[in-house]
Every structure is written in C-alpha cells, then in structure tokens.
C-alpha cells in the first residue's frame, strides 16, 4: 500500500532535441508545483512535480509551443499555476505600481532639485 514513485517517462529525462529541451526547461521554471506551492516544478522533487515535468516535455515534444502548454495548464488551474501572471483585473496593480512609483519619484526629485537652485 504505497504510492508508485517510479518517475514518469520524461520527468527526469531530457528531450533528444536540445532546442525543445531548452524551451521546456524555461517553461518549467515558471510553473508552480501544485503540491509544494513555493517551488517551481523544475526545482521540486515531489512526485507530482515530476508528473508535471513529464507532461510539459511530452507536449513540447509533440510540437506544442511553451505558450500553448502554459495556456493549457492555466485553463485547468487558473493563473495560480504560473509564476509569470498575465495582465488581468486582479494583477494590473503588479504591473502598474512600479511605473506609478517611478513617476512619483521623478516628481519628488524634480521638486527637490528646483528648491535647491
């Protein structure tokens, strides 16, 4: 009564095509392991992370682009699955806050330099 822990084919085996392997690897580093939550599936030793790596490599080998694989996973787990969240109603402050803070900084700097001269 134990979990079968043999890694899935492609969980820990690189793809034969180095270009495909590189794009799969880059994608895996941006995908959240759903059972470990703080790690990407590239970093995690969890069995499910291995199954997710196998899924990513299998789909890349079959000719899908990394964006297609990412969208497939987002359709199942939501934006939660990716560490590279798309711009949406919930995430726009993440993208706009740095720009807003830069603008505020520039405005403060301008005011300070003007006072000194």
């Amino acid at each position: 009564m134990a979990q079968t822990t043999a890694p899935a084919e492609l969980a820990d085996t690189q793809l034969a095509d180095p270009v495909q392997e590189a794009s799969a690897r880059t994608l895996m580093e941006t995908l959240r392991c759903v059972v470990c939550q703080g790690q990407s599936i590239a970093d995690s030793d969890a069995t499910m992370a291995g199954d997710m790596r196998a899924l990513v490599r299998g789909r890349i080998r079959a000719g899908e682009t990394p964006a297609q694989v990412r969208d497939w996973l987002i359709a199942r787990y939501g934006d939660y699955i990716t560490y590279d969240p798309p711009l949406s109603a919930a995430t726009w402050p993440l993208w706009l806050a740095p720009l807003a803070l830069l603008a505020v900084g520039a405005w403060i700097a301008r005011a300070s330099f003007r006072r000194r001269s």
Binding site: M1, R76, Y77, G78
Partner: protein, 177 residues
C-alpha cells in the same frame, strides 16, 4: 518647509495603507486550497485502462449521454481516502454512480483497499503518472468531481467528503439531474 501643507502627510498615509494591507493579509487565515478551473467546462478527453480485473476502466466519452455521476480521484496509499470511504458507500447506497481514477497505484493495492474499506465504484481507471488528474486541474487525493449527463464538470470537492457533507453532495447530484 511648512508642516501644515497636507502633502507632508502623504508618505505616512502611504506607509499606513501598505502596513494595513500587509497586516490584514498576515492575520487572515490562509486558504491553500487549489481549486480546479474546469468547473463549467466539458470533461477533457481521456481513456484509462482498468486497474483491477473485476471492473472496467474509465473513459470520458462513456460519461456523455448518461445520468450525472461522481468522479472520485483516489489512491490506496492515501489516508484521507480511507476516512472518505464510508461517505462514498452512503452515496452509492443512495443510488449515485461513482467512477474513480486511481493515482499512481497498483491492482493488488487497490483490490486490498476495496476489501478493507468497501467498494462504491462502478469503474476504476489507472492513472500511473497523474496525467488525467492534471488534465482535470486536480492537485491531490482525494478529490471528487460532479459530472453531469452532458459530460460537463459541474462541481469539485477538494479533500475527503466528510459525513456532514453527504447531503450536500446528494443535493448537488439531484440538482444536475
């Protein structure tokens, strides 16, 4: 600098705003439940071979055009699945069809699990590398999906169905009938 200028308070106000947001988020109980985004979507296509010789495997096509059913993601090595077994037996006795997907499991281990904990399943598919589990947006065992007669995923219960949830599950099954 004139301290009466209201703008002087802006940085403090900004700091307080951030501090309040952080404090609320820190003290709110964290919900780590990973929910599937497949609710309302058609069941993804799959065809799993049987894991025990006494029952058929599970195919998504076979779920279309029949009544609603539960799809239980489980494993013989999963302790909460043992706790859930009596509730699934009650649902089975109430006439609910339950199909199952066994995650990373073996035939003898599943057969032993069913002998010890009861057997509520009409069919059990073998998912040796969690592929169907991932295609459903499921992140652990046990999880239970409600599939309606058109093959649409209607609900998900994450974790074991507890005794006080059986009525809720039954009502949800009747709702999609």
């Amino acid at each position: 600098m004139d301290v009466k200028r209201p703008l002087v308070w802006l940085p403090l106000a900004g700091f307080l705003l951030v501090a309040i947001v952080v404090a609320v988020a820190l003290y709110a109980p964290a919900d780590r439940t990973v929910r599937s985004a497949m609710i309302g979507q058609p069941l993804p296509a799959f065809n799993l071979r049987p894991i025990v010789s006494t029952k058929p495997g599970v195919a998504s096509d076979a779920m279309k055009g029949h009544g609603p059913r539960l799809l239980n993601i489980f494993a013989s090595w999963c302790v909460p699945c043992i706790a859930e077994a009596p509730q699934l037996m009650r649902l089975r006795q109430a006439g609910v069809r339950i199909d199952a997907v066994a995650i990373r499991d073996t035939g003898p281990a599943v057969a032993g699990f069913l002998r010890r904990n009861g057997d509520p399943y009409a069919a059990i598919g073998d998912d040796p590398s969690s592929a169907v589990q991932l295609s459903l947006g499921s992140s652990g065992v046990p999880e239970t999906f409600l599939i309606d007669g058109q093959g649409i995923v209607r609900r998900q219960w994450v974790g074991d169905i507890r005794a006080d949830q059986v009525d809720e599950v039954l009502a949800a099954v009747r709702d999609v009938q």
